[in-house]
Subunit: 662 residues, 2 copies
Amino acid sequence: MVSRKLFHELIDPHSVVKILNKFVDLRPSGVEEVSISEAFGRVLAEDVRARYDSPPFDRSEVDGYAVVSESVAGADEDSPATLKVVGKVGVGEEPLVEVGLGEAVEVDTGAVIPRGADAVVMAEYTKELSNGRLLVFKSITSGENIARAGSDIARGEVVLRKGTIIGAAEIASLAAAGISKVRVYRKVRAGIISIGNELRPPGNSLRIGEVFDVNAYSISASLRELGCDVATYGIIPDNEDKIKEVVKKALKENDIVITSGGTSAGIKDLTYRVLNELGRPGVIIHGVKLKPGKPTVVAVINNKVVIGLPGFPLSAMMSFKVVAIPIISRLMGVNPSLLKAFKVRARLARRLTGVKGRNVLVPVALNVRPGSNELLAYPVRFRSGSIHVLTYADGFIEVREDTGIIEAGTFVNVELFRGNWVPPSIVCIGSHDYLMETILYEYVGSNELIKYVPAGSMGGLTAVSSGEADVGGTHILDEETNEYNIPIIKKLGMSGKVRLVRGWIREIGLVIPKGNPKGIKGLEDLLRDDVLFINRNKGSGTRVLIDMKLKEIAKRRGIPFNRIKRVIKGYWNEVRTHTAVAAAVSQGRADVGVAIKWAAKLYGLDFIKIGDEIYDIAINRESLSKDCIKRLVEFLGSNELKKVVKRFEGYRLLKNSGEFIL
Amino acid sequence: MVSRKLFHELIDPHSVVKILNKFVDLRPSGVEEVSISEAFGRVLAEDVRARYDSPPFDRSEVDGYAVVSESVAGADEDSPATLKVVGKVGVGEEPLVEVGLGEAVEVDTGAVIPRGADAVVMAEYTKELSNGRLLVFKSITSGENIARAGSDIARGEVVLRKGTIIGAAEIASLAAAGISKVRVYRKVRAGIISIGNELRPPGNSLRIGEVFDVNAYSISASLRELGCDVATYGIIPDNEDKIKEVVKKALKENDIVITSGGTSAGIKDLTYRVLNELGRPGVIIHGVKLKPGKPTVVAVINNKVVIGLPGFPLSAMMSFKVVAIPIISRLMGVNPSLLKAFKVRARLARRLTGVKGRNVLVPVALNVRPGSNELLAYPVRFRSGSIHVLTYADGFIEVREDTGIIEAGTFVNVELFRGNWVPPSIVCIGSHDYLMETILYEYVGSNELIKYVPAGSMGGLTAVSSGEADVGGTHILDEETNEYNIPIIKKLGMSGKVRLVRGWIREIGLVIPKGNPKGIKGLEDLLRDDVLFINRNKGSGTRVLIDMKLKEIAKRRGIPFNRIKRVIKGYWNEVRTHTAVAAAVSQGRADVGVAIKWAAKLYGLDFIKIGDEIYDIAINRESLSKDCIKRLVEFLGSNELKKVVKRFEGYRLLKNSGEFIL
């Protein structure tokens, strides 16, 4: 170990480039000339000056008559000026006439102004007579309706500056200035290597312990989005020699190499050791103050950078955004802030607490509140290995290491995951339901943007009452009153925020393989040694029901509920939807689960009814003013709902379905 | 003419799709399967369900020891639990051991949880002893640090919905769910045709009356940005038969055809007539309530759409955004709002007035004000043929036809021209100056985003006092006091908003070709018949000086100033920078202009000094708190400035250079 390297000292991710600058020259590898049709997304390597004026000549901005302004001085509706029409100039034509006092020349929009004229009268203020005379009903000032040559872009003027990312508007300016080719920086070539014995490419099957390689695909896509050329080197097992060989090859063929995996202490810091042996100066940064993303390694080998990202996909993506993009921006020749995803300012919906010594990246979901029309950012809770959060969340907040608590209501900068975040017409978070999904996607919002997130009844109520969601389905039974949904909303003090529309009944029961090979008869069979159960997630209405029924069994048998939970095989195996339960049973991963009848039917499974449950629709009070929610409420109270319900076996309506019951 | 068509009735651009739906089925032309590495930017043609759980097994989220939570109940720093280490599971390995009460198995982050264990203790809360025993200093709850199989994404769950645009985050989800191929909509093939005798491809030279074809390039780039395949059919002259032939061919080869030009009354509605004759039902929409963009034609021919955009590039771009994108979105299979550029909410900086019967698209420049940290939108004044505005403005506001006045301070939605608008570190709007440009780009903000807009001294003062710009150079002489800059700021009542730093002296004079072929001696020569002048734009300090000197000449000669203006050939030819003046003279487009000595030197021209002028730097008071502005003020007062000034001939400092003089 050499002393100048910063081992085991976590580095502020925002100083990585500054530190690297001492070891390597971060700049584009070269310049090439491309035609403007191929320049989209490229980075200008020089200031571009206009070759021609724009417009290239004094140009009429309207259809009308070019005149000497003095000729129509004082003209108005009552006393028009009479001029002699001496010619016409069409678009693209060279004027063959001159305009004198008392004369007019017809010009089209875009035509050259003939010599002598200093203004153009719009056609609508004139009347051409049959004798070649023209009445003008309006006086004009010198220069009116004429765009002077070079007034928009003057020849020699800087049109675009070095470092500009060329978009459609920039291409328009280049073309208008007569430029057909530009010098741009060579594209950055990036090599991608996935490291790990456990990795398998998607599309294959998995053995126990294996996971799909995600980073090769997501990091490649992110790099291509930036405009880099990407070469992938596949999945390399945890073998030092093989990793060395591939990194060496990738370094030769690329401007930068990005690996993922092999950076955590658990696998003995494989990437760190390999990168430190491959060449001078080796590893410069070994761990950053970032959460998720801490085990990030940055090395410089033979004047090229190698970035070792963590293996977990979300960590890899976050580290890519915060650590890799600023490095790559230098190689691309652009200001790093131009490569950052768009930032929006939003009000934080829930308080956040900073973590000492770490910059924490907190994924957030966005929603616009109809009352205040404000953009709110809802922190998303997630596990470090989560992928789902990447599609569910809209962006992230960075909570810097010196931050204590950020109170709800504070304005925060949200860096978006996608460039085009648009407020959804409906955000629906809650218990998963087929009928609800069908109503939303087929009937209420077939042309709308819908965000539908299954998160259980409790997750739904929390989201709806906070405004993160406009609407959410819930089916939580109150054990005391034996009533659905209303008691829990009251108990949680949510009545002021939430209204409730009566929904429908769903038959719920045990879902078992066709033919019931294990002869399951009821919930008591879960206690059997040879039966593997698949449970639902905490917070779901179904889980509440399952636990209630199991408590009854526990009581009957005189054993503690906690012991029952341990006895049931698979009790801790939680999935989030009815579909997932049915899928697990149909694929043999479990022998039995609890789900609604319709899920059993979809997967061709047998079903043993254990009860009816009521699924109601909670709506945020402010959201009631949204068009889509109005349409939803209307649909829930309509006759059409009755027709739709018939498509779903095990569903039926109540007398007060569609009515506000809270 | 057939009655069902909507001739000469301007259509609300936002109802175009609804009207078209009666004539044509706007939907994707087909579906194809692509691998997820090629799926970036494509549109999903089906709901995608997970093939595997994610995680695919119960997985440790930390480096530590898998245990039965009961084994460590009550453990703390003072009374650790002692367990027996019975094995280890690395990442990717199948566990070969089970964990019983009192036992522990070492696990890496990402490893499979061995049977029996229901929680993982983090390594940092443990100490492994040499005898194979483990001390655990913390109790944990069941399930802690374990991600259950399927808890993130469950097999069978909808991962992504039909109509989703696939980005890096979506690719990550697909890979994690084990999916290697997805069904996406076929790319939309669009044919681009430019119509007009006056058009020439960039890179060529122009004859009088000709302009460069801009739309083929900018519309192609916009289409490619959306993910379309583009075929360009070149420039077609204003000839009905030729246009028909090419449109026919393009219709055969593409899903949609977009032409530009030939839609205005001036050229007799060429596009309209051609499209109406090519097939049934022909032109459906003939003019939209849009400004700019009114002469937009939409036709349906043989079940395909042809859009005729106006010829002026800005109009074409605006019509493309408002009229074409919603149509193309249907062909792509995505919700149109997803294709719109990002919208930001900003406060309108100046009042705007709506136009009756037109949706007006007003380009705006954005700036964040340091005082309030608010985003302000500054409406940009422009001529209809402008291109420059596309690179200068950041986006546009749509003022709907039923809008009267929108007061300054109102919140408005700004649709961005680019996806990645970032607040510039410095916005400098004002009189163009080489030294100022050099200071900004080379010394103050070499790593910063700078927006530098030459707009003349008056334009600069207005922008700086309103906050549109942070800083701007000005050199306006007050005729009464013979003093520079301070009097005008006071007269305009801007002192409360603006501070002024003393800048430098620039020698100003007549710029003439090397050797002075026309024997020009002074400004009086502008009155000569054989001398062609190039003037500066109104509002520039140089223009004020020119007019002042010309007024003196007028007085001496006893002729009215207005008459002098008419006598001088080229007086109305205005350009916006010193460079543009020098360029015009060096290229023979003018015989003489007024510019600073440095511009003459840059272009190898002769120079006849007519005076000295003082160029000062106006700074918005609120902007003084910005880091970059602080650095600018510091630099202006530094010794380094003295060194830099020496690089510019004709520049010199004053005693109080760098001091605040207001």
